[in-house]
């Protein structure tokens, strides 16, 4: 066990044992300060949150209510089961697509056909569960999940793609590379409250606001930006209502901030990842006459995929945790169209004093993040090329 046994080979077994115990005690003593803080402020709260969510807890503890706070979210456990069954079927369809009937002659087509059927059925089951939940459960919470997903879809892919492009360009022979990198990283390092305050002004509804000046340059009438709760598709003249209309213009403003503030981080990490790709591969491709694009497509993208995977995961989880800039940039008139789950939970707790409802929602959010992490690890992880 201990690395130093060999040095002290002369000693007797009893002494060795004593040494080993001493070593262990030192180890525990060393981690003790960190352990206490992480236990008290990081792990204990999870247990206590679960405990709180089982009571009717306004500012102070009330009577035990069991699963009532969770039922308020889902409507009924049956709804949740239907929803989960739908997710399981969708996941199952991916497994079937990849693995089933491999031994049969026409196995592949058969597997794909079956997978498609299961996928469609799973989708139907999922939507059924969701609609029932929406009608009988807490539509405000479910709504916030959709807003969060909009926010994630709006930010993550663009952050990744732009980050990779900028990193790839910077990786070429560029004069002033360092300066560009410093500038790109600025939005990530500066406090989000301070920069969100600027975006507040840039995206204000004033006619002279910068965002309105820009669109005015292209002949578009001033918009209300952060104050606009209408979905963008409706603004474009399509007659869709509710969530089908896509994110509100207010959420788009926040998404633009999110992208702006996060690209630099991705660029820096991609840049480091690009540095790890052996130069010989590019040289070999060049000798074979591969164009820049070919090199990017067939060398860079596959070789960088572990980094892409890591960044996607971090960014996706990040959107579910995002709080500061959303809190600063939201407006009362944008209402629930920018109310992500983390904001909603904070409001329930801080403004409405509904502690137990907030903790129950927080636990559900935590489970969603956990599920997403595991799923992403499994699904994406298999398709990542580890050089």
């Amino acid at each position: 066990m201990t690395e130093n046994t060999s040095t002290f080979g002369k000693k007797t077994g009893g002494d060795l044992h004593k040494l080993k115990i001493q070593e262990e005690i030192t180890g525990y003593l060393f981690i003790l300060p960190a352990l206490i803080i992480i236990l008290v402020f990081g792990i204990f709260p999870i247990g206590y949150s679960i405990y709180m969510s089982l009571f009717n807890w306004q500012v102070t503890k009330g009577p035990f209510v069991g699963d009532k706070n969770y039922l308020l979210i889902f409507g009924s456990w049956q709804n949740l089961l239907i929803l989960l069954a739908g997710i399981a079927m969708i996941v199952g369809s991916f497994i079937i697509w990849n693995r089933a009937f491999a031994s049969l002659a026409k196995g592949k087509q058969l597997a794909h056909l079956l997978a498609a059927i299961v996928l469609i059925l799973g989708g139907v089951v999922f939507v059924t569960g969701w609609i029932q939940m929406y009608e009988t459960g807490n539509s405000e919470f479910l709504n916030s999940l959709i807003v969060t997903v909009y926010y994630a879809i709006g930010t993550v892919p663009l952050e990744i793609i732009i980050g990779l492009i900028l990193a790839y360009i910077l990786y070429q022979d560029i004069v002033g590379k360092e300066i560009f990198r410093i500038i790109y990283f600025l939005p990530y390092i500066t406090p989000s409250i301070s920069t969100a305050v600027v975006f507040q002004i840039i995206f204000s509804s004033r006619e002279t606001s910068f965002a309105n000046r820009i669109i005015g340059f292209f002949g578009v009438d001033p918009l209300r930006w952060r104050f606009e709760a209408k979905p963008v598709l409706q603004l474009l003249g399509l007659k869709v209502s509710g969530l089908a209309g896509g994110p509100s213009l207010a959420l788009i403003s926040i998404i633009i901030y999110g992208i702006w503030s996060f690209i630099g981080y991705n660029t820096v990490i991609f840049l480091a990842g690009l540095g790890n790709i052996p130069k010989e591969i590019y040289e070999a491709a060049e000798i074979d006459g591969g164009s820049r694009w070919d090199q990017f497509r067939y060398i860079t993208i596959p070789m960088i995929s572990p980094v892409t995977f890591y960044l996607t995961l971090i960014a996706f989880i990040g959107t579910f945790k995002a709080f500061n800039h959303l809190y600063v940039m939201r407006t009362p008139s944008a209402g629930t169209s920018v109310l992500t789950t983390s904001l909603l939970i904070f409001d329930r707790f801080y403004k409405a004093n509904q502690y137990s409802i907030a903790t129950a929602q927080a636990i559900v959010l935590f489970l969603i993040i956990l599920g997403l992490t595991l799923a992403q690890n499994k699904i994406l992880g298999e398709h990542v090329f580890y050089g």
Partner: protein, 298 residues
Amino acid sequence: MDNSQTVPTTFVKSKRKERTVVQIIGKMFLYLILLFGAIIFIFPFFWMISTSLMTLGETITRHLLPKVPQWDNYYQAWRQASFSKYFVNSVLITLGTLAGLLFTSILAGYAFGRIEFKGKDILFGVFLATMMIPESVTLIPNYLLIRGAIIPLPGKTWINSYWSLTIPFMANAFSIFLLKQFFAQVPKELWDAARIDGCDHLRFLVQVVLPISKAPVMTVMLFGFTASWNAFQWPLLVTTRDTWRPLMVGLYGFITEAGPNTHLLMAGAVITIIPILIMYFLTQKQFTQGIATTGLKG
């Protein structure tokens, strides 16, 4: 990404000579993209600074630059909006948190990297898992804890106190992970030699390991500094009086207080980012390197 496993060897052949002209144009195009990006990233900062030097009227009619820079705006934000007080609070909170963070994570990082004890791997796994927990989950119980509603605290409540603003951030899995990675690479021979000289772990850590670990310790400090300086949600929750508020909460409060006084708000925002900018420009190489290595290893 079906064919990601293989690098195709059949590329389209192109002639060398044609490339040079195309290459120059291509390169210019790349610089254009980079410049365009740089402008977009810099622009909000420019907007922040230029607005902070405007008169109230100018913030409404809005041109790129103020006619005469109003340096007085900074004085007003600093004195009237009590940014001086917030600033001192932020400095104290950040320094306190940093000291605690370094203490806990150096010791724990060393133990996880170099000492064998039972349950080490499990404990480390648990530590790492805490990185995934959203603040929404820990916020409410921690708030009750700080208020003294779960267990009795010395001094009854820690609302409006430096304790609540610093102690919860004095340890995190990320810093421990970062230091552990580095400490584990210190050659075993050094420890064997030190041990023969009668050195124990603590002395070895302080006299041998730390002096050669400036880079990772620096990285932990930089991350700790920005995290603490930029913190918002928790300080918002546990401070109810101006006397205890750090800059970020003060700035947020100022949004509503300042009302239409955009120029003062921007002056306040500039004040909040100056320390971060100074720190970043002094250590940017270290910082980006730190982020890159942790990002890649994570």
